[in-house]
């Protein structure tokens, strides 16, 4: 049973998040170990694994980006854990653009950057963060809809587009993380995981 099936949903990327949450709560009320405390050990063990499965399904589907990652894994028939399988990869155009930043990053790691260069890196970091947001929005909206409306024959192409966008996004986030580290600015500058 895949995660979409657990919630009785079609394999679609646009979904009613409110309804998903209600269904998650309903299933949890049925299966959570708290409500099976007096049951036999076998039933308790079943409640535990079922509940773990429901939680995993909800975690994968409630967040639009994780939902796409899960769908790509599912369509490709890979049984991988969260975060696996999408290697950070820049689109060819992006790679050339990144060359300068990567070089500055290397220098900074060696500890030889002046205030002005750091300021430039900061501007670049903010630019990439904005770009990452745009990429997120494109994935969540246009690309997700494209998948949902694709005819069966168009699906492999739609899937490839999703996959590439995920790889670009992962790449951007890695560079942003590196920049933040060099700039000594922690997590707070991160593009927070969109959730609700």
């Amino acid at each position: 049973m895949d995660y979409f099936e657990i919630f009785g949903l079609p394999r679609r990327l646009t979904l009613d998040e409110g309804a998903l949450q209600r269904r998650f709560y309903e299933l949890s009320r049925q299966h959570h170990p708290d409500f099976h405390q007096g049951a036999s050990p076998e039933e308790q063990a079943r409640a535990l694994t079922t509940s773990a499965l429901i939680n995993a399904a909800y975690r994968a589907l409630r967040d639009p980006i994780r939902r796409i990652e899960y769908l790509v894994r599912l369509e490709e028939g890979r049984d991988a854990k969260e975060g696996d399988g999408i290697n950070p990869k820049a689109a060819p155009g992006l790679l050339a653009e990144m060359f300068e930043i990567q070089e500055a990053l290397q220098e900074a790691k060696g500890g030889c950057l002046d205030e002005a260069s750091l300021a430039t890196l900061r501007v670049q970091r903010d630019g990439l963060t904005a770009r990452c947001r745009v990429e997120d929005a494109r994935l969540r909206e246009a690309l997700a809809q494209a998948w949902d409306t694709a005819a069966p024959a168009e699906r492999p192409a739609a899937l490839a587009v999703l996959r590439e966008a995920l790889a670009t996004r992962a790449y951007l986030r890695t560079v942003i993380d590196d920049l933040n580290q060099v700039l000594g600015e922690g997590q707070e500058q991160h593009v927070a995981h969109h959730r609700h």
Binding site: G38, L48, S51, E82, H194
Partner: protein
Amino acid sequence: MSRIIGIDLGTTNSLVAYVDEGTGLPCVIADANGEVLLPSVVSFTPGGILVGRAARRALVRAPGSTIYSVKRFMGRGFDDVRDELRYFPFTVRATDGLLRLVAGDREVTPPEVSAVILRSLRERAEAHLGESIEKAVVTVPAYFNDSQRQATRDAGRIAGLDVVRIVNEPTAASLAYGLQRRRDGLIAVYDLGGGTFDISLLRVKDGVFEVLATNGDTHLGGDDLDRTIQVMFLDDIQSRHGVDLGGDAEAVQELRLAAEAAKIRLSTEERTVVTVPFDGFVYQREISRRELETLIEPFVARTLQPCRAALIDAGLGPADIDEVVLVGGSTRAPLVRRRVQELFGRTPHSQINPDEVVALGAAVQAHILSGGIDHMLLLDVTPLSLGIETLGGIVSVLIHRNTTIPTSAKEFFTTSVDGQRVVDLHVVQGERELAKDCRSLARFELSDIDPMPAGMPKIEMTFLIDANGILQVTARELRTGKAASIDVRPTYGLAEADVARMVEESFTYAEADVEARLLIETRTEAETVITHVERALRQAGDLATADERVHIARGLGELRQAREGTDRDLIRDKTTELNRITARLAEAMMDAALRGALGRSGAPALEGPG
């Protein structure tokens, strides 16, 4: 189903609660003297084990055999606590990664000490409810790791309690609030206790309490504030009286308790005077709230970063939070309230007593588990990422932090050498990339693998974190379908055999005559009063009238005599009597002390920074 009680096993105080079937409401259980809070202090005296108030009194007399704040040592390794050991009057040793506390002439593990506290609460509940109690829900800080949770469960077993659920303290608090007012929204629970700090963000909707993120620091609490004040006192005594009391364990404990009391008073008063009599001089110090706040500000600041991190993990901003709830005695400090208000832009509240709310919530969860409540459901998360060490010491994360529990992850392993029969695994918890920077939980040894060429066996391991936040691991070889045998070596925990032995040994304490223990407690109390009165006479005898001095001398003599006997009631009566006779003298001493302090309050040495 038999009754399940709810226990808040705190760093400073512990409590027990249950849900009254008649009203459906949770209530805390008081002891015979009407006291709800049981100080989490255990004293190992030659005559027997003391717990609670009696043990707390023993702190000043027998600091070397009295254990407090044991929660800080639960599930810990020596390296975790090395830095703070100098502040504790008891010695701590580590053998095989397991901490042992030296109390007098015996060595005890932290779970055994916690078990004494749990047993006392269990007996209290049994006396109150008139039935035997075998099951409990016990709370822990949300940020407790697997070892700390296991240690808590072991403590329950040693105390003869089946810990049917470990619940996170802030979530328990939210249940207590949720039962009271059914209102939906996003709630932040800020829990600053005696030794630990937690922040939990929850979505409450239609009776479901869904934790979105949690963060914290299991070594940050009221204890740290007391210690800072105590260190300031020690320095002050050194400069004003030229005495270094740092090495005097009894004096340090007196100052620690005085620091705690002053901190508590300064939550409601602008300034207060601390008076601690020592042999040869009386230490007096006025302290203002401003001065206190300067001292504790760094600790309060340390709580804000986890709050921000939790907000980020939940994908929320401070403005999204509908309600901020304060839990734990340390949140009574006005500075804490101000900083929390600034962070969330909203007035925090603590309508339910912050000392009791966690125990009440534990009782609610106990009631849910026994089927008494079916409209409420708690969905908690695991606070720390769980991973395994891979090549080069890098951690491969299997379960991310803030994942709703129960949760499970599968991982496949194989062999690297032909005929290899054993595979070793190192499981860690934490957010760092290198295994050595994370918390080592256990090493697993998969053995009895059928000899095959390298890479042929396919072993599937399932890591499951249950609703207690505790890890369970199973493994099977996929080709044969055979369950692999796993040997677990917990890095910082008790082995199964240790727990069984401790359960056995604990029966001998349990069988010890209750009357004998009560006698010890009464004698201890008498001894404390005698010590205090003798010291008062030495230092301020001139404040007493001639008549009083005669009375006091007679009272002292009678109590000393009663103390030698075994008539508990007589000892108690004589103790009360001596307290009564000396009440006026005590007041006169306090007055004199206050006059002294206030009279000199213009002197720079007594001024705070503000």
